[in-house]
């Protein structure tokens, strides 16, 4: 199995190399830049799919495609240890696919200094591939930051309204989150006494001798708020809608779709398995704050008039479900979270891309100034309806999201039945704002403002250059929706090997719900 380890390394290195190359081919004109960068996105996607194909569930629980490389930080037990397990692989593939879609879309944009724009996006992509492929906790963090920095630059340079303020607010919030989680990780490293940042070594050491409860307590607290800020946990979420609103669409796609999953992935793979007592201590906090995400942010989302802000808030809201699933601490709940992370990543990326396509036609994000777009652009409206239904979690186009959310709801019900009311209320809320946005944008009468715009710019439907990236995302969504077992088997096997998750009795595996 380790024969394919180099494929993992290539899928991280190729986007970074391509980013470097764009600087040199800029003189050869736009097509050269586009070819180089699209290749930089396409190869990792192909490699990720190959890895998915050859990954056999027998090795699940452990890591496959493992490689280890010294980079010089042996003094603190850091080495570039790469590999994928059942939880990491689906996210790795999702990152590659969303990256390809975002890259294809970005390559056609008319951004100023296209080569720099694409270079930033490629660096982000390299970091994202690295995040999910890292077994070493330090590099896990390191790759996250590598992907994060270009986001700030892209918002500041190519962003929309309020970009300067948004970029600064996001930078300060996320730096705080990153610093808190860094100290939390250092705490685990120092207190474990294993002299290693390696996740496997850490797990083995802590399984033998768990950390003292007080240490687990504050380390988990640091990680909860550190990762929490990065995942936009209420009430530390305010950077997210603002930042996504201001970011160029490809950056929003990659950040909201993939990079934000870093924090959740950190909970699933690092924080919860290493600090089980800490979770028990903070469980109530997680639940209450997550309810804040679902209900309060849900109501805020209902009040939005701006399409991009609406999608931003809806993405923050869905993070609440993920936190609830983690709090349940069962294979079912956490497995649902991982599946939802994959599905949500694809969905939210699709939504941000479609929102920008709508903007190209209406020249506004204000939903009141749109209306009736379905007559002029039926394909676009079909895509958007699919994406929004998926986001709400309705069975059908949103089957993948549905399976994830359903598993979470079942786990939450087992964990604390009274919470189910809040969760169901959340579904209603998201149905209200989702369907209302579809109605406002695509149906009804064309607003006067939209008619004004149409006088100057004729509205055309989606061309193939727009359909291809959208199709990539939507086909993947459908595939996971109809064949969830392809994803969940690996997730379940990996989670069952973790003592923390498998202890919970009566955990029904998620793939039982396959139809």
């Amino acid at each position: 199995m380790n024969d394919h380890a180099s494929l993992v390394q290539f899928s991280i290195a190729i986007p970074l190399v391509a980013a470097f190359l764009t600087m040199f081919v800029k003189g050869w004109g736009r097509p050269a830049i586009q070819i180089v960068s699209v290749t930089g996105f396409a190869i990792p996607a192909i490699l990720a799919l190959i890895l998915w194909g050859v990954y056999s569930p027998e090795t699940a629980g452990g890591y496959a495609f493992v490689s280890d490389m010294e980079t010089g930080l042996s003094v603190i037990g850091v080495s570039l240890h790469l590999g994928l397990n059942g939880v990491a692989l689906p996210l790795f593939v999702m990152a590659a696919i969303v990256g390809l879609a975002a890259g294809l879309y970005a390559a056609q944009s008319n951004a100023e200094n296209l080569h720099r724009y694409l270079a930033c996006l490629l660096i982000m992509q390299g970091g994202l591939m690295g995040v999910f492929a890292s077994i070493d906790v330090f590099f896990f963090y390191f790759f996250h930051e590598l992907a994060l920095i270009p986001t700030f630059i892209m918002i500041g340079v190519w962003g929309g309204r309020d970009r300067s303020y948004a970029a600064m607010k996001m930078t300060i919030y996320l730096t705080l989150g990153a610093m808190l989680s860094l100290i939390g990780l250092i705490a685990i490293y120092v207190k474990s006494g294993a002299n290693s940042f390696d996740l496997i070594t850490l797990k083995a050491a802590l399984a033998e001798q768990p950390l003292a409860e007080s240490v687990q307590n504050y380390a988990f607290g640091l990680l909860l708020f550190g990762f929490g800020i990065l995942v936009s946990l209420w009430p530390l979420h305010t950077w997210a809608p603002l930042g996504y609103g201001a970011a160029p669409s490809s950056a929003s796609m990659l950040h909201a779709g993939v990079l934000k999953k870093f924090g959740l992935y950190g909970f699933v793979q690092v924080a919860v398995p290493l600090l089980p007592d800490g979770v028990a201590q903070w469980e109530n906090w997680i639940v209450w704050l997550a309810l804040g995400n679902v209900l309060i942010v849900g109501f805020i989302a209902m009040a939005q008039r701006d399409l991009k802000q609406l999608i931003g808030y809806s993405s923050v809201m869905h993070m609440g479900y993920a936190f609830l699933g983690i709090a349940a601490m069962s294979v079912l709940g956490v497995g649902g979270v991982v599946l939802m992370m994959v599905a949500h990543g694809l969905t939210v990326a699709l939504l941000f891309m479609l929102a920008t396509m709508i903007h190209h036609r209406t020249h506004t994000f204000e939903m009141e100034e749109m209306g009736g777009l379905a007559q002029k652009a039926p394909v676009l409206s079909a895509f958007f309806v699919c994406a929004m239904m998926a986001s709400i979690g309705l069975p059908g186009p949103g089957l993948a999201n549905f399976w994830g959310e359903l598993s979470i709801f079942l786990a939450v019900y087992e964990f604390n039945p009274s919470l189910i009311f809040a969760v169901v209320a959340g579904i209603v809320i998201s149905a209200i704002y989702g369907l209302r946005s579809i109605a406002a944008v695509f149906f009804g009468k064309e607003s006067d403002d939209f008619l004004e715009v149409q006088k100057e710019h004729a509205v055309v439907d989606m061309g193939w250059h727009e359909r291809v990236p959208a199709l990539i995302l939507i086909i993947t969504l459908f595939f996971i929706g109809f064949f969830p077992k392809t994803v969940t088997t690996g997730i379940n096997d990996a989670l069952k090997s973790e003592a923390v998750y498998s202890q919970t009795a009566a955990a029904t595996p998620a793939h039982d719900h396959e139809h």
Partner: protein, 505 residues
């Protein structure tokens, strides 16, 4: 003094062991000689010869003498050589090369003589190297004063600019004060350590090893404690630690860019070389010293970052951010009392800081504005558009100063944080995080000005005096220096290789 003592001292004179310092001294004299010999039109070569000579020396040390050819004491216990000392030598030499390059660029713009500058710079660098390896308070003080006197000249080098003169005067007054404090501390230690009534006293208590033996025997001697306090205060002045940072903004602003760079990197690093030694010597007084240092470190981080928030002048921002860096480095020094490799982490941080600062100063030197004391953040506006190369260098430098991965500055901060955690300095870590988050604001301001397009008020009349294009003065040679600093910063962020092994000890 008996002839025996002199003989004994002469026997320990190992001139070969201080070849880098001697080489710098000879080079410094050679520059003056060349000025007299060479025809006028060839004078432009002399700074280049200086850089070349230093580069050869640095290359030799890096290739053949990385860990230091000699160890142990020499010159009658005046100097003591070890791996850390050698690392500081490399640091000072590299700093000196970058500063020579900065001097070449920015002094040429103002048409000030460059040969004298290079001469004094070499002498100062040699003195800083000796300072880092001193093992005796006499050597310590003489080396320090040699460097400081050189600084007095370098700070007020723009003799036609009142800001530079003001900076020179302030540095002179404050420097003299700090020297006096330091000297008074040394004298108190001498008095305490040579008191024959006390156990462990010796005829030569100014030698660090003798002083250590004395302090172990008398950890509560009040005179020694006050002496320690004063010596640490004198060092705190050099590194710009709170509450001795008051000279930093004005002096940094008024001094020529190369001098500011030398103050920010060389002087600060020398201060830390001293502090690392002193922390070991004063270890028996830890009941007093650790709380004192912790307080200084915490306040330095907070003050430096908060004071930098409101600055618009570029050199002042960098100066105040340097104050906060002194705090982080101090955290590393404190950790080194518990964690062995923390000393090496401090050295690594200093290297990362040096590379990043040099990249930023090099960008500043290539900005079109003539009077570098008045460079503000607004002068950077649209830098990335006007000159992408300088913009990128600035971003990497500032990013590394801010401690953003994947740059060297992040690895430096990480190592210091891990060491501090192992040393259980939780309170300082909390302050450190707050400091990092605050610092993002002003570093971000610099990046914003250089990269993000902003609507600016364009005054028609002001437009006429065309400020020129940034990077006009950039030559191939200058690009090389910036490329070295930038690639060094990036590579050290990804891959530390043998340096990492060295840190582990």
């Amino acid at each position: 003094m008996s002839t025996e003592l002199l003989q004994q001292i002469a026997e320990t004179n190992r001139w070969g062991a201080i070849y880098p310092e001697l080489a710098l001294g000879i080079l410094a004299l050679a520059l003056l000689a060349l000025e007299a010999v060479l025809p006028k039109f060839a004078h432009g070569l002399i700074p280049r010869i200086s850089i070349l000579g230093q580069s050869i020396l640095l290359g030799y040390i890096l290739l053949f003498d990385r860990s230091g050819c000699c160890s142990g004491e020499a010159f009658g216990g005046m100097l003591s050589f070890d791996g850390t000392g050698q690392a500081f030598r490399i640091l000072f030499l590299a700093t000196s090369i970058f500063v020579s390059y900065l001097a070449m660029v920015s002094l040429e713009k103002r048409e000030f003589p460059r040969i004298e500058y290079c001469h004094i710079l070499l002498v100062v660098s040699g003195a800083l190297m000796l300072l880092a390896q001193s093992n005796h308070f006499v050597m310590f003080f003489v080396a320090l004063e040699t460097a400081t006197v050189g600084f007095y000249v370098l700070v007020s080098y723009y003799r036609t600019s009142y800001l530079s003169l003001e900076a020179g005067l302030k540095y002179l007054v404050m420097g003299a004060l700090s020297s006096a404090i330091l000297l008074f501390g040394i004298v108190l230690l001498y008095g305490a350590g040579s008191n024959p009534a006390l156990e462990g006293s010796s005829a030569d208590p100014l030698n660090f090893s003798n002083l250590y033996i004395f302090l172990v025997a008398n950890p509560t001697d009040m005179m020694a404690i006050i002496g320690m306090l004063l010596v640490i205060s004198g060092i705190a002045f050099k590194i710009g630690a709170f509450p001795f940072q008051i000279w930093v903004p004005d002096v940094y602003q008024g001094a020529p860019i190369p001098t500011t760079a030398l103050l920010a990197v060389g002087s600060k690093a020398a201060g830390f070389a001293m502090l690392i030694n002193m922390v070991e010597v004063f270890e028996p007084l830890k009941a007093w010293m650790y709380p004192l240092l912790s307080g200084i470190v915490a306040l330095t981080i907070l003050f430096g970052n908060l004071a930098a928030l409101t600055q618009r002048n570029l050199k002042r921002v960098i100066g105040m951010s340097g104050v906060s860096h002194a705090g982080f480095l101090g955290m590393g020094v404190l950790a080194s009392t518990q964690v062995e490799w923390a000393t090496n982490a401090v050295v690594f941080y200093l290297f990362a800081y040096m590379l990043a600062s040099m990249a930023v100063f090099a960008v500043m030197a290539h900005l079109p504005k003539n009077d570098d004391a008045e460079l503000t953040i607004d002068d950077l506006s649209e830098l990335s558009k006007k000159n992408g190369f300088l913009g990128f260098a600035l971003a990497v430098g500032v990013g590394s100063l801010a401690g953003i991965p994947p740059l060297a500055g992040f690895i430096g901060k990480l190592l210091i944080f891990v060491a501090a955690f192992q040393a259980e300095l939780y309170g300082l870590l909390a302050v450190g995080i707050i400091g990092v988050v605050i610092s993002i604001y002003y570093y971000f301001g610099i990046i914003k000005s250089a990269f993000f397009e902003a609507w600016t008020f364009k005054d028609e009349e002001l437009e006429e005096e065309n400020p020129g294009v940034p990077g006009e003065t950039l030559q191939l040679f200058g690009k090389l220096a910036i490329v070295v600093a930038v690639t060094g910063t990036i590579i050290l962020g990804f891959w530390q290789g043998p340096i990492g092994t060295w840190i582990a000890g």
